[in-house]
């Protein structure tokens, strides 16, 4: 089968790969780009484990053809850290609150939560629950994930307020 030449940016880095037309963005990220942080829990759009951001919008990478990401900006869990020595407030909060157990759902949930907090750092409990309704976690009972997102949101809001004042 003829391969497609694909150019896109992944976590701020320009990538160029050759893939078959039927390849999903998920398999392309994991197998061609070599970023295995994004997980495959179902491959049919039901679990949210593969959630990545494409041009600022969360998508299920298993449901998107890699070809559709031509020229796009993709963000995966590996791109969440602002710099190598610093974690994203969500990553910090997930560790503190025990929001990650087996961790298989975590990359997808982190991306979804980042999207949620980028829109609104102080979501209500209802908004957090609704925001995560497409992400399955089978280990945690979600309670600690909600806690972590609330904590990270508060810290992000405080940091934003401080930077505005300064």
């Amino acid at each position: 089968m003829k391969k497609i030449h694909l150019e896109f940016s992944v976590n701020g880095e320009q990538r160029s790969v050759l893939v078959e037309g039927y390849r999903s963005l998920l398999d392309t990220l994991r197998e061609e780009v070599g970023l295995t942080g994004t997980k495959k829990g179902c491959d049919v759009g039901d679990c949210g484990a593969c959630t990545v951001m494409v041009n600022g919008q969360p998508v299920n990478a298993c449901l998107m053809l890699a070809a559709e990401a031509q020229g796009a900006e993709v963000l995966t869990v590996e791109g969440m850290q602002p710099n190598p020595d610093e974690l994203h407030p969500l990553q910090e909060a997930f560790m503190e609150h025990g929001a990650s157990q087996c961790g298989f759902c975590t990359p997808g949930i982190l991306i979804m939560a980042k999207h949620l907090l980028d829109q609104n750092p102080l979501p209500t409990d209802e908004e957090i629950r609704f925001g995560l309704s497409g992400n399955i976690c089978r280990c945690t009972g979600y309670t600690k994930i909600f806690d972590a997102i609330r904590t990270a949101g508060k810290r992000m809001a405080a940091a934003k307020a401080a930077s505005v004042e300064a």
């Binding site: 039927y22 994991r30 197998e31 970023l35 295995t36 942080g37 994004t38 997980k39 495959k40 829990g41 179902c42 491959d43 049919v44 039901d46 679990c47 484990a49 995966t76 869990v77 590996e78 969440m80 850290q81 974690l87 969500l90 990553q91 997930f94 560790m95 503190e96 609150h97 025990g98 990650s100 157990q101 087996c102 961790g103 298989f104 759902c105 975590t106 990359p107 982190l110 957090i128 629950r129 609704f130 995560l132 309704s133 992400n135 399955i136 976690c137 089978r138 280990c139 945690t140 009972g141 979600y142 309670t143 600690k144 994930i145 909600f146």
Partner: protein
């Protein structure tokens, strides 16, 4: 318990494995890509019970990109245990890797390796199988009928997996004669599945010397090693099993699966690495489920609520193979001797083969089923006798010295404390007297319920378990713990590191954990039965204690003091009464003053006795009488864990168990078409689990009510417990809300509406 000023244990330190999980760096089996790797796929039967007349793979083999195809003609003819516990009291050797017979819809009949997953998938379509259908049975009643088709030639006869488990204590007839109230009824439960987020997966690679390296997502790496070696005819040192991070297991990743054998065989034949990954659908079809069950339960009570007799017959549906049915039947049946004390019991437990997917180990292992029934019937008795349900449980709760399901006297009885604590924390009395209507919605009825449980922190005495740990002191004073226990996601490795740091007297950060490589770590029986912290933790504590002695002996030589005058705290060794004199562990380890360097390593092996954890769950539900939907609104789980090692990890376990328990009770059921054995909802959309929007408010309470001398500082298991009590608590709360008793799970909206209709008819009849 000696008084101990804890520095690390009991604190929610940062989990060791978690930074990798939040950065995406942690490697799971599917993240390993080896050069030249091939992809394996399994052809599955589309018939539930049949003999394979012929199987033609020529077209598949000729397909470009296909490297190998295996059928029952090409694999070793070795019968194996699906659940290979070498030290188990009873196991069933009833599986071949591939056979000329299929026993359930979806069973593997052939395997392909190809250069891509897509090609392997296409090749499966080209394999032609001719079946000779056999009569099949899809439920335990038909499987037990005298003219039922026999599914296996092995076993005690009929479709029994093992001989019935029969337990008798006291005099049941006398007990019933003494009763003022006798209740009896049927109970039934569906087929929930563990549905861990990481589908089953493995990678096999052989080297030139004939050694197999095998990555797999398993809870029992040493069992995988043993079974692969046995079937492939290799010594154990020629099989290396590696488990890095794993995406959950909940008990079900204890078995040896067809794909694991087939992957190794394909890789051998192709002389290239092979990866085999289940699709989500295959994880349903070929994974493991909880045992569906049917139970008849009869109990006698005095007016004051005291139990006088219990008679129980339970049948667990094993599905096509035995897997954990012997263990589940033993544990589940024996559990009915206890929880609520009863002097006269007669129990009969059976496991029966059917032509349905394989039931295996799953969190709560047989006990979920038993206690669901017992706890609902206790609630019915309380209602009939006019006793408060919580008070009823307090009166009957097991006590110190009562005989536990394991046959041992109970040491430490946390149940009463859990109940009493929960009564206050939940405001039980206030809630039970509150209005059951919802002012905002007249269709809603609220209700409150309680459920209880006890669960062993090990599989002893069913399995002769042993926990092992090795601790190495490095020359800079840092410490390496080696353990064979798998990390399913519970935080067990962190708990083990805490135990080592605490016992040794070094900072938590200086302990690192090496795990998941059978060539390196001490032998391990597997991560299951809520026993890692209890069992391996005790071994780690023993190893750390020995290492501490040896470090102190060395420091004593350097300081020219007696070892018994030294202490080590946070990695600093000081001399009693001489504040000026001290050494860091690092200094103690290095060569100096004519003392050469030394390799300090210690191992601990621990054989458990039996300990039990306890819990009482208090639940609020809201039942919509128009739609039949039950909403679980609030849960207060109160757990006795003996001694908590990592509070946040323990809470997380409890909250996750509640999530699964709510699912089991209200929505989760892997449905098999009872006419042809096909599965009807093998996917995450149709198999309904509670998600973020469905979770109640959970207020977890952890007590250290009844420490067990067998666990580290009294610690007991917590992993399985939370899934057990939540079910009956919900069913009892539903009854409190709408006055309808349900004896089965899941309780669906249709069941609620039908129950309400039935009740309305009865009420009308009575009026």
């Amino acid at each position: 318990m000696t008084k101990h000023d804890f520095r690390i244990v009991g604190k929610s330190v940062k989990r060791q494995d978690v930074i990798e999980k939040v950065t995406g760096e942690g490697k799971y089996t599917g993240d390993y890509h080896l050069p030249g790797m091939l992809y394996g796929k399994i052809k599955r039967s589309d018939i539930a019970h049949a003999r394979i007349k012929s199987i033609d793979v020529s077209r598949a083999l000729a397909y470009p990109g296909v490297k190998a195809v295996l059928t029952h003609h090409d694999v070793p003819k070795v019968l194996h245990y699906g659940s290979p516990h070498p030290r188990s009291a009873s196991c069933t050797k009833d599986q071949y890797i591939l056979e000329d017979k299929v026993r359930f819809w979806g069973e593997g009949v052939a395997a392909v390796a190809a250069i891509s997953e897509e090609i392997a998938d296409e090749a499966l379509e080209l394999i032609e199988v001719e079946y000779e259908p056999l009569p099949a049975v899809f439920d335990v009643d038909s499987a037990q009928s005298p003219d039922a088709p026999q599914i296996h030639d092995v076993g005690p006869g009929g479709n029994l997996v093992i001989p019935p488990v029969q337990i008798e204590r006291g005099d049941v007839e006398k007990g019933f004669a003494e009763a003022d109230l006798i209740l009896e009824g049927w109970f039934e439960g569906g087929r929930p599945t563990p549905t861990y987020m990481e589908p089953n997966i493995c990678v096999a690679d052989w080297d030139g010397s004939g050694k197999l390296t095998f990555w797999t997502s398993t809870q029992t790496s040493f069992m995988v090693r043993g079974a692969l070696a046995e079937v492939l005819g290799l010594p154990l040192n020629k099989v290396r099993v590696l488990v890095d991070h794993m995406g959950g297991g909940f008990g079900a990743k204890q078995d040896l699966f067809q794909h694991e054998f087939l992957c190794a065989l394909l890789a051998k034949q192709c002389r290239r690495p092979v990866r085999m990954e289940f699709t989500r659908k295959e994880t349903f079809l070929a994974g493991r489920t909880r045992h569906p069950f049917k139970m008849w339960l009869k109990q006698g009570f005095r007016k004051d609520g005291t139990l006088t007799a219990r008679d129980m017959k339970i049948v667990y549906e094993s599905g096509a193979y035995g897997s954990h049915s012997p263990g589940v039947t033993n544990v589940g049946t024996a559990s009915a001797t206890s929880l609520y004390r009863c002097p006269n019991v007669r129990l009969d437990g059976r496991a029966v083969y059917t032509n349905t997917p394989i039931a295996g180990a799953f969190r709560g292992y047989g006990v979920v089923q038993t206690y669901y029934a017992i706890d609902i019937q206790i609630d019915e008795a309380a209602e009939k006798l006019g006793i408060d349900p919580a008070e009823m449980r307090l009166r009957n709760a097991v006590r110190e010295g009562d005989i536990a399901p394991s046959g041992h006297p109970i040491i430490g009885h946390g149940l009463e404390t859990c109940i009493s604590h929960g009564i206050k924390a939940f405001d039980w009395a206030g809630k039970r007297n509150a209005d059951r209507t919802d002012p905002r919605n007249p269709a809603i009825r609220k209700g409150w319920g309680i459920g209880c449980e006890m669960h062993g922190s090990s599989a002893y005495p069913g399995i002769k378990e042993q926990g092992n740990a090795t601790v190495k002191m490095n020359e800079d004073g840092s410490v390496t713990l080696l353990t064979g226990a798998a990390g399913l996601g519970t935080g067990a490795h962190t708990a083990l590191a805490q135990i080592v740091a605490e016992e040794l007297g070094v900072p938590f950060e200086s302990v690192s954990v090496v795990h998941g490589d059978t060539d390196v770590v001490p032998w391990d029986i597997g991560a299951f039965a809520s026993h890692t912290t209890y069992l391996v933790g005790s071994a780690a504590k023993m190893a750390a204690a020995e290492l501490r002695q040896r470090v102190l002996a060395r420091a004593a030589e350097k300081l020219q003091e007696k070892p018994e005058h030294l202490q080590m705290v946070d990695g600093i060794i000081t001399v009693e009464g001489k504040p000026g004199q001290s050494l860091t562990v690092h200094e103690a380890m290095g060569p100096s003053r004519g003392i050469p360097a030394e390799h300090l390593i210690a191992s601990g092996s621990y054989m458990p006795t039996k300990s039990y954890s306890f819990a009482a769950h208090f639940v609020e539900v809201a039942v919509d009488t128009e739609t039949g939907i039950i909403e679980c609104r609030k849960v207060v789980p109160v757990h006795d864990v003996g001694k908590v090692i990592h509070p946040i990890a323990a809470q997380g376990q409890i909250e996750g168990g509640i999530q699964q328990g709510i699912g089991h009770t209200l929505t989760e059921d892997y449905v098999i078409d009872r006419t042809n054995g096909r599965s009807l909802n093998a996917g995450l959309v149709d198999y309904k689990m509670p998600l973020s929007m469905d979770m109640p408010d959970i207020e977890t309470i952890i007590l250290e009510a009844a420490p067990d001398p067998g666990g580290p500082w009294g610690a007991k298991g917590v992993g399985e417990d939370p899934i057990i009590a939540i079910g009956p608590a919900i069913a009892n709360a539903v009854h409190d809300a709408i006055g309808v008793r349900f004896h089965h799970y899941p309780i669906t909206p249709e069941d609620v509406l039908e129950g309400l209709r039935r009740k309305a008819r009865q009420d009308a009849g009575a009026a």
